[in-house]
């Protein structure tokens, strides 16, 4: 048991409570959740149920009123937070290349090996032309900014990736492209991922487990386990029985939770 604990890596939330200063009720109350090493969980729930607040707490942007957040064998510097608004992640005074290199430069880790990895990351995300042209983030389209935010967020191979509706507001083809890219990155880096989304397809394609936030600001005990081995290609998967079955199950629980309140 002791040995298992030593090699364990992940996130443990214990009796977590958080209330905004102007609010009457806590947005998160007595929340308990455990995310294991190399596990991707998707948080589903209605707007205002505290999903994004939870990511803010895990990333230390906000401090809980009570309870604890334990990052097991993950240093705070190994956390990445990719947000819905790409510009919240980017530094507009730096070029595209400078933005991508920024994290590694600040950590004094921009060696030749890291540079090679970044070149490949830039290529995969289709940003080579923007890097060569020395463009600034404000000169990019919405989709390009989104790609750049992923490049920045993943440049330092984080062990814990937090995604807050990171795929909202982009077209299907780019969304699917980024889903596939992210899944490959997670597989490569063995990162633990917490994904906040309203998109069932996204949750099923990326997550190992879907947990539900109800508006009582607690995680519901019901959860959906996804067999990711069955879902390789998103376009093909959408029409596959296992995908449709998981989606139906997810929708059923989602409706049950919201109707019960």
């Amino acid at each position: 048991m002791h040995q298992t604990r030593l090699i364990y890596m992940g996130v443990i939330l214990k009796n977590l409570t958080f209330q905004y200063r102007d609010s009457i009720h806590p947005i998160i109350e007595d929340l308990n959740l455990e995310i294991k090493e190399n596990e991707t969980i998707a948080l589903l729930g209605i707007s205002g149920s505290g999903k994004s607040t939870l990511l803010n707490l895990i990333s230390s942007f906000q401090k809980p009123n009570s309870g604890s957040i334990e990052l097991v064998n993950i240093d705070k510097s190994e956390v990445s937070y990719i947000r819905q608004s790409a510009m919240d992640m980017l530094f507009p005074w730096l070029t595209v290349k400078e933005n991508i290199e920024f994290a590694l430069k600040e950590r004094n880790q921009l060696d030749s090996e890291a540079k090679e990895r970044l070149v490949s990351l830039i290529k995969i995300l289709g940003l080579t032309e923007k890097v060569n042209k020395k463009n600034y983030p404000t000169e990019l389209s919405g989709g390009e900014k989104k790609r750049l935010s992923f490049a920045c967020g993943l440049s330092y191979s984080p062990k814990l990736i937090l995604l807050d509706e990171a795929f909202t507001g982009i077209d299907f083809s780019l969304k699917w492209e980024l889903w596939s890219f992210l899944r490959a990155e997670i597989k490569r880096t063995k990162a633990t991922v917490i994904l906040v989304t309203h998109d069932f397809d996204e949750a099923i394609f990326l997550a190992d487990r879907i947990v539900f936030f109800n508006s009582k600001k607690q995680i519901d005990t019901k959860e959906v386990k996804v067999n990711k081995a069955d879902i390789v290609d998103i376009e093909k998967s959408l029409s596959e029985p296992s995908f449709i079955k998981t989606k139906g199950e997810t929708l059923k629980i989602y409706k049950e939770i919201n109707e019960a309140i």
Binding site: S59, K76, V79, M89, F91, W93, E106
Partner: protein, 241 residues
């Protein structure tokens, strides 16, 4: 284009030549303006006034940034100093003249730029603090996350400084205009500087040399215009975001 338009407009309205006062016309003023540029006393006055404007602007920038940073360190410091800042901002700089005249002496060569520093630095402080308040906190948090650093100074240099730069530039432009006004007006009032453009305007007025008075007004305007253009160029290069 604007000076030319104004010249034509003023000539048509005969603003430069009321019959009784026999003011110079536009052609006389502009020709004197070009002549004055080769006049030693005018050149000396330009250098003297520009020097005071630059000193007061430089000191204002240093004080403005320093105080903004200190006031931003925590909310407690800010809540103590905010009423004082608002109080000082409400007082016209001319009201400070007697106090500084007693402290420094009315003929002190430093009295002009010191008085110019008061409103100029206050404007910069208010603008920079507003910029700090408006900065994107998600981006600041992002810096701490991706850099793996916790240092507030580092975050200020790498993120806050750039976030605040457009606000600083806007404040600096206004503070520069203030500095020009205060320096020239105090020179006109024969305080501290005996060789500045303000003093020269006063002397030329005394001698009823109106052509030169208007020439100097154009020169002061040009100094402000050139300095503003310079700031615009710098901000386009470094504050383009």
């Amino acid at each position: 284009m604007l000076p030319l338009f104004l010249a034509v407009l003023f000539s048509l309205l005969k603003l430069f030549s009321p019959a009784i006062l026999k003011f110079p016309n536009v052609v006389e003023i502009y020709s004197d303006f070009f002549i004055s540029l080769s006049d030693n006393s005018v050149l000396k006055a330009i250098l003297s006034t520009a020097r005071l404007i630059l000193i007061s602007s430089f000191v204002s920038v240093i004080l403005g940034i320093l105080f903004s940073f200190l006031l931003n360190l925590n909310k407690w410091i800010w809540s103590i100093f905010e009423p004082t800042l608002d109080f000082l901002r409400s007082i016209p700089v001319t009201f400070f003249i007697p106090a500084f005249a007693i402290i420094l002496g009315i003929s002190s060569p430093n009295i002009i730029w010191i008085l110019a520093v008061i409103p100029s630095s206050l404007i910069i402080i208010v603008n920079v603090l507003h910029g700090i308040k408006q900065q994107n906190l998600n981006r600041l948090h992002q810096y701490y996350l991706i850099s793996g650093k916790k240092s507030k100074i580092s975050a200020f240099i790498k993120v806050t400084f750039f976030e605040v730069l457009p606000y600083f530039i806007a404040g600096f432009k206004i503070s520069l205009s203030y500095a020009i006004v205060i320096v020239t007006v105090l020179e006109y009032m024969q305080m501290g500087n005996e060789t500045g453009l303000g003093t020269l305007v006063y002397n030329e007025m005394e001698q009823l040399n109106y052509k030169r008075v208007y020439s100097i007004i154009i020169i002061v305007g040009l100094i402000g215009y050139i300095l503003n253009q310079l700031i615009d160029k710098i901000s386009q290069k470094y504050g383009r975001f």
